[in-house]
Amino acid sequence: MTHAAGIEVATLRADFPILNREGGRRLVYLDSAATSQKPWPVLGAMENYYRETNANVHRGVYELAAEATERFEAARDRVAAFVGTRREGLVFTKNATEALNLIAWAWGMRNLAPGDVVVTTEMEHHSNIVPWQIVAEMTGARVLFIPVDGDGQLDLQWLSVTLRTEPVRVVSVTHVSNVLGTINPVAEIARSAHSYGALVVVDGAQSVPHMPVSLAELGCDALVFTGHKMLGPTGIGVLAATPELLDGMEPFLGGGEMISDVSTDGSTWADLPWKFEAGTPPIAEAVGLGAAVDYLTMIGMAQVREHERDLTAYMMEALAEVDGLTILGPEDADLRGCPVSFAIPDVHPHDVAQLVDREGVCVRAGHHCAKPLMRTLGVTATTRASTHVYNGRDDVDALVAALQRARNFMAG
């Protein structure tokens, strides 16, 4: 099966052991916005790391430790290049959530004053809301939300008025909504926010795995994302930030690895980026993420985007054939990332997900950690299908057929 973008889905699928697991039905995995599957080069790199070069990094003088350090730092360089930055600006965290917490705590606690405003959006994942609420509570700052309109777009007029009339210190916004799929104009938002001196943070959890993303081209101060949604392992995320921002911040977590010197009088910090990496880092996970980046680069991120755009357009057309089904978010696939949320009258998302599961179709049902958006949309839950490079039109066809049967089953 070849697509316009030239991605051979069948060939790629062969690289993902879980999609070829023995026994049972063919897995129609449409929940990559929650977590992606992993190709064998990622699994192999991690196993090889443990089998051949496992040692703690930045410590030992023996050769094995040097090899481990080299593999860890080489992974950092590859991930940095992948998002258009350099190693000084590439901090490994546990996940995107921890990266957002790092910024909110390390920057927010020292820079936010009573009355200051943090702007985020109604379409954020809880991970880009709750850390700011916690820090705002302690600093006396306020968190305001850019409204979302009926087509799933941010109200940029609201933002420009707010930037003009409120002391906005931070604008923290998602690149691609994990529910609506909307691709937000973050470069434009960054330009406006910067002209008022605000810090700009972008949540790239749903964009970096699926399209070319460059910190420099976005023009933001910080970009966060997570390994496990981009064919890499769990347990590793990234804060990519300008060295100016990182230089001006004090550490988030303290401990080993992040220090230059420690005495009973106090401590000084390691150079960037290690100042923000306390304790033994997730080494094998970094190696795995490096391999994932290599794998995606081999396909080409422009090709990945083109393949998924085509597939999303096909999915939206095919879903429209299900009686009464409505799709949330932008109608034009050009304006969307991978997540496609939808509603079927009189069939609750929980039941949808349960009923299609019997046909081997994995979709997500629930509030997708975006309860403020759910309230705006006036729903408690949606069903969401989301793709990655290993999905093809046959997966979409299987989903639509299963949805038709689920609908008929519940209608009785």
Binding site: H348, H350, D351, Q354, L355, R358, G366, T380, A381
Partner: protein, 152 residues
């Protein structure tokens, strides 16, 4: 169909034609429960007189299992003494966790919830209405004294 245990006809019937659905005009007690994982909601109004559930109504939004279970709970609890309602809740808990057989006299149609035991992800859906009822009732030890606790 492999899901017949979960989606039994009696459950689908309660979902499509819920019993005791709505609100009471002047309830003795109202509680709201929601499942933080999926957002399912149940609102429960209960009126107790002389140690007995004389009126109850449920509203809310959620999947077929949560809403059907709330309907079956309402039907089972209606007219029961507080002690018996607590016994029914305990029986449902044990049933859904696969720890005890159903007591049909206590549960009525809710015996159909037995199939949920095989679907751990749906256990919280099925228990939502029953946990709301437990919150709305006086503790069993107080039940003998009548409907004093938490009432009008």
């Amino acid at each position: 169909m492999g899901l017949d245990d979960l989606y039994q006809q009696i459950i689908l019937d309660h979902y499509r034609n819920p019993r005791h659905r709505g609100h009471l005009d002047d309830p003795g007690m109202s509680v709201d429960h929601q499942n933080p994982l999926c957002g399912d909601q149940v609102h429960l109004d209960v009126t107790i007189r002389d140690g007995r559930i004389v009126e109850l109504a449920h509203a809310g939004d959620g999947c077929s299992i949560s809403q059907a279970s709330a309907s079956m709970m309402s039907e089972a609890a209606h007219g029961k003494s507080i002690e018996d309602a607590h016994r029914a809740i305990d029986n449902v808990l044990a049933l859904i966790h696969g720890e005890a057989p159903a007591d049909e006299d206590l549960l009525g149609d809710a015996v159909a919830l037995e199939g949920v035991a095989k679907y751990p992800a749906r256990v919280r859906c099925a228990l939502l209405g029953w946990m709301a009822l437990r919150d709305a009732l006086p503790a069993p030890s107080h039940a003998e004294k009548g409907a004093g606790v938490g009432q009008q």
